[in-house]
């Protein structure tokens, strides 16, 4: 269980102004749920995700994973950024292996091979990043996050740079992985249809200062048909909620 308790995060800009990126944010993320963060640009979604990852620290408040405070990155928490962030000088295998540098060689090789198989990139194990398409590169990034077997997978707009077909394929793919591996997913997205088709809960944030506006529960069973009335009407509701801000 990932608990966000009364978090504030303020930035001081070089000219002395204070930006209240997050203000009084509390949220409990349950085990094995998929939760989406949506909201207008600049409302603090990425900031919140970075706090959850341990890359950044709250000005006030706490982030706790199973009762322990998250204050630095840990293997239990995996992160997929908006862009793949592959190291261009390493092959696909080594790019994933970078997440397991302290693991014994043979175990590392096995785990990397297994995760590449899972994201369907076995054939490209020896390719360099420049030989990959955008969707393949993002799959490598997902593999790299999963190879450490995190209990939480954080994703910051992971599919936003992809065309809609590749995007849907990858969404389904992540759902499959999620079903097999039983990790928790926190997904930042601008795509409300993505949020509605994937999530158990959608957290709507509003900016300036960044706060949680409402949390929408979605009960229907997965996989959900993107074109179904239920999904489309939820999407409309969320759109309306966002425009109210």
């Amino acid at each position: 269980m990932l608990e966000i308790q009364d978090i504030c995060r303020r930035f001081t800009t070089p000219d002395g102004a204070v930006v209240r990126a997050l203000e009084d944010v509390s949220l409990t993320i349950r085990e094995h749920e998929i939760i989406s963060l949506v909201g207008t640009s600049g409302c603090g979604k990425s900031t919140l995700l970075r706090l959850l990852s341990g890359l950044d620290h709250p000005t006030e408040g706490l982030v706790q994973l199973d009762g322990r405070t998250v204050d630095k990155p840990s293997p239990e928490i995996g992160m997929v950024f908006q862009e793949p962030r592959l190291l261009p000088w390493l092959t696909v295998t080594d790019n994933v292996g970078v997440a397991l540098l302290d693991t014994p060689k043979t175990e590392k090789a096995e785990r990397v091979a297994a995760v590449l198989e899972k994201v369907g990139l076995t054939k490209f194990a020896d390719a360099l990043p420049r030989q990959l398409s955008g969707g393949m590169a993002q799959r490598v990034a997902i593999a790299r996050a999963l190879v450490r077997r995190p209990s939480i997978l954080l994703m910051d707009e992971p599919f936003s740079a992809l065309d809609s077909f590749t995007k849907q394929t990858l969404q389904d793919h992540v759902l499959d992985l999620w079903r097999d591996e039983s990790f928790t997913v926190v997904l930042v997205t601008h795509d409300l249809e993505e949020a509605v088709t994937l999530s158990d809960r959608v957290v709507v944030m509003r900016g300036n200062p960044g706060r949680i506006d409402r949390v929408v529960e979605i009960d229907s069973k997965r996989p959900r048909d993107r074109t179904s009335d239920a999904v489309q009407s939820l999407k409309r509701d969320l759109t309306a909620a966002l425009h109210l801000n």
Binding site: P75, R85, L87, P88, L90, V98, L101, D102, D126
Partner: protein, 290 residues
């Protein structure tokens, strides 16, 4: 047509890359069509030179015939003097290059990684850079004498700046996002250097080294013209004093060849770790760079 051929060649090499064979890139070591094309202009100039000499258009006192230049070089070679001169000059370049590159690497890493070191050292280094390097000559001679030390010092100064500037800038410009990635994946400080910083800065560092080497060759000439009893530069002065233009031209050509060879060696030594680069050079198998 030539353009079309170039494109085909590029595409051909490109598909080599996608099959990922480092071995296939090795073929560019052999002189390909592109390399041969590069020889066309110099050979043409030599032919023109020969014609000018044979027809008496060129004054042999100023521009002796190619055969005569070659003859002088061969004679020097046979006497063993030439090997000696080349070895001395190469030794000076190597020594100066080593000192300059090592100093630049240490300082570049310092100012690149530490804000404090940069604020403390970089302004001074930048100010020193503004001094035209040859202006150091009188001071170095005064300090280190007219023999080897002042020469090495001068060459080292020439080598230092391109290496230092390239390395410092490259370290500072390493994508912060990649550093963050290293943090997320729990890389230690040393692991971050090994897996991220080093490979990311290598291309610019090699560019700096090659630029430094070129300046090293430039400055060895200056150092040897200043006063030396051995070396290719001395050979040129000697040819000038004794009125033998063939020697001057011969030394000139040898400088060009030696400079090319050392640059090529540096390029070869660093080619493999840089093969990942997604640049025009890599599309063309690095041939343009050679």
């Amino acid at each position: 047509m030539a353009v079309l051929d170039d494109i085909k060649e590029t595409i051909g090499l490109r598909s080599d890359h996608t099959t990922g064979g480092a071995a296939s890139r090795g073929s560019s070591l052999l002189p390909g069509r592109g390399t041969l094309l590069g020889f066309a202009l110099p050979l043409g100039l030599v032919a023109l030179w020969q014609v000018a000499s044979a027809t008496g258009f060129a004054d042999p006192q100023l521009l002796p015939a190619p055969g005569e230049v070659l003859g002088e070089i061969v004679a020097l070679w046979q006497s063993g003097d030439l090997v000696e001169h080349i070895a001395v000059t190469m030794g000076r370049v190597a020594g100066g290059f080593l000192w300059g590159a090592v100093a630049a690497t240490v300082l570049g890493i310092l100012t690149g990684t530490s804000t404090w070191a940069r604020q403390f050292l970089d302004p001074t280094i930048q100010a020193l850079k503004a001094v035209p390097s040859l202006a150091w000559v009188p001071l170095f001679i005064l300090w280190f004498g007219i023999f080897e030390d002042s020469k090495l010092m001068l060459i080292a100064v020439g080598v230092f700046f391109p290496v230092y500037l390239n390395l410092m800038t490259a370290i500072r410009d390493v994508d912060r996002k990649l550093i963050e990635l290293a943090r997320v994946n729990g890389l230690s400080r040393w692991q971050t250097v090994r897996w991220v910083l080093l490979p990311a800065t290598l291309p610019a560092y090699v560019t700096g080294l090659r630029g430094g080497l070129a300046l090293g060759w430039m400055f060895v000439v200056a150092a040897e013209l200043m006063g030396a009893s051995e070396g290719l530069g001395f050979l040129m002065i000697d040819g000038q004093m004794t009125g033998r233009p063939a020697i001057i031209i011969g030394a000139l050509i040898l400088f060009a060849i030696a400079g090319q060879i050392t640059d090529k060696l540096l390029w070869l030594a660093t080619r493999k770790p840089l093969a990942w680069q997604d640049t025009l050079d890599s599309l063309e198998g690095g041939r343009n760079n050679a």
